[in-house]
Symmetry: C2
Subunit: 199 residues, 2 copies
Amino acid sequence: MAEGSDDIQALITLMGRLPGLGPRSARRIVLQLIRKRSGQMTQLAQLLDRVATNSRECLTCGNITDSDQCAICSDPRRDTGEICVVEDVADLWALERGNSFRGRYHVLGGTLSALDEIGPEDLGIPALLERIENQNVREVILALNATVDGQTTAHYIADILNDMGVAVTGLAHGVPIGGELDYLDDGTISAALNARRKL
Amino acid sequence: MAEGSDDIQALITLMGRLPGLGPRSARRIVLQLIRKRSGQMTQLAQLLDRVATNSRECLTCGNITDSDQCAICSDPRRDTGEICVVEDVADLWALERGNSFRGRYHVLGGTLSALDEIGPEDLGIPALLERIENQNVREVILALNATVDGQTTAHYIADILNDMGVAVTGLAHGVPIGGELDYLDDGTISAALNARRKL
């Protein structure tokens, strides 16, 4: 046993399974934590325990929160007439960091997939439709990833909503702010060219 | 507040300060943990708490352990006649993974540094000398890093031990196993050339 104790070894293994980490980076992290065991490490253990105990999904939108309704769904200043549909909570957080959307969200928790047998019910699409009917929603923004599954899901939802008479929009494709043309993929460049606008 | 709750945000900040992680990777890790909050996350919190509570330095060698003596110092099959001196616990673990040294260790916890005012007492060098005198040590291997501070510390210890009549050795420099000459720095290549051996 090279690494101190069984617990330390188990900790390194567990850490090494986190996304983006491996055995080497996990060892480095665990050693630094042990060096700061009375401060940083204890604090981290307590926070992890608290977040594990308190976290749950917002009953309305599926965002991660520590109460029945997330901060966004319980904020009266956020427009209930606009719902932005995202694949997962990471996307919701990313849009919130953008700080320009003032409506509400709906987290699908994945995309439709015939291969993985994920249907509309698994993604809470009936719940989304119910929400749209009951809350007088004017516009639904489908902010799904530009992958095949993401776009299939977007089309599926758009078809239903168009029949319901709700405005459906998608995020614009184009050159990222600060992006260099030379480094962009061909698909993005032609999308940006097709959607060119008058200056 | 984009990220769920104050606790989640504090957790992301704390995670993002670990070596090799930043805000983006910390967010990804925390989201994955929350997804597995009843399993992986709770387990991680418990392990961190246990390791933080139980970890301490081995009273003999300075290795991280959960008792007064580490597994190496309390293993009667490990040769007490050889002591390998390392800068920190990460180096000890690395040598143990190599699985070819069967003696004992001594962790300095740093290197001599005039700039940072780190003297021999701060590194427990008197304790090392006492250990060498009392335990009938035949050979001391100085496995310190090939940095200026590491080599200064090695020379300081070697001078004292030579006066005490103990054999002092250092790790060989040369081409790493599996290494390609083209990618090696000039210093390593000339060291390997100077220490060339008959085949």
